[in-house]
């Protein structure tokens, strides 16, 4: 059963600490998205990769956030230093990047920064 795997599922950290969230896209998918979900803003696109190259990271605060794909099986989202306003659920999704194909979502990482 192919699925997008995100780790950790939950993370509580102190303000100022570095946080790394990981995503394993579905094997063979060449497109990866990072979304952040909050009550106030809903689901916002943070970054978008195709064939491991970043296509759009305009939604990501560049001073503290970074997103990478070290290889085709791993995407990472890093926050350094973390702040309480970063508390949210972070979703990774993957897809084939072709017409009429859907994006498959992981179960998200719930981040709490205290």
């Amino acid at each position: 059963d192919a699925r997008v795997t995100q780790t950790p599922r939950h993370k509580v950290t102190e303000m100022g600490q570095e946080v790394t969230m990981r995503c394993q896209p579905i094997l063979g998918h060449n497109t990866v998205f990072w979304y952040r979900q909050t009550m106030m803003q809903g689901l916002e696109l943070l970054a978008y990769f195709r064939n491991r190259a970043p296509l759009d990271d305009s939604g990501m605060p560049k001073d503290r956030f970074s997103a990478e794909m070290p290889d085709a099986t791993l995407a990472t989202l890093k926050i350094q230093p973390s702040e309480p306003r970063d508390s949210a659920v972070y979703f990774c999704a993957s897809g084939l990047g072709r017409l009429n194909t859907e994006a498959f979502f992981g179960q998200g990482t719930r981040l709490t920064v205290v």
Binding site: F33, L43, L45, Y48, A93, R98, L99, A103, F105
Partner: protein, 113 residues
Amino acid sequence: AQTVTQSQPEMSVQEAETVTLSCTYDTSESDYYLFWYKQPPSRQMILVIRQEAYKQQNATENRFSVNFQKAAKSFSLKISDSQLGDAAMYFCAYRRVIGPLVFGKGTRLSVIA
């Protein structure tokens, strides 16, 4: 930039009844895709139904159907014979031909037994 608006933050429906969730969007593109996603308390985002803008026929998936009005840029979701398991957040989303999803703020649906 494309935007998606869901004007109903919350809705409720009696079990076995029908409910319609509203969605409007703004785009200058002529070809695009529209989606409804369901998010139950488990947090998992589940695709409910998809509509290609070039298709005039409204998509249906079992008890779920859409009313796609391209000129009005409207894309509503109808759930027939509502079940307790339908209770969730529902998100309307837009996507250019190839690109990321743009989501509305969601509608929380409650199903009353």
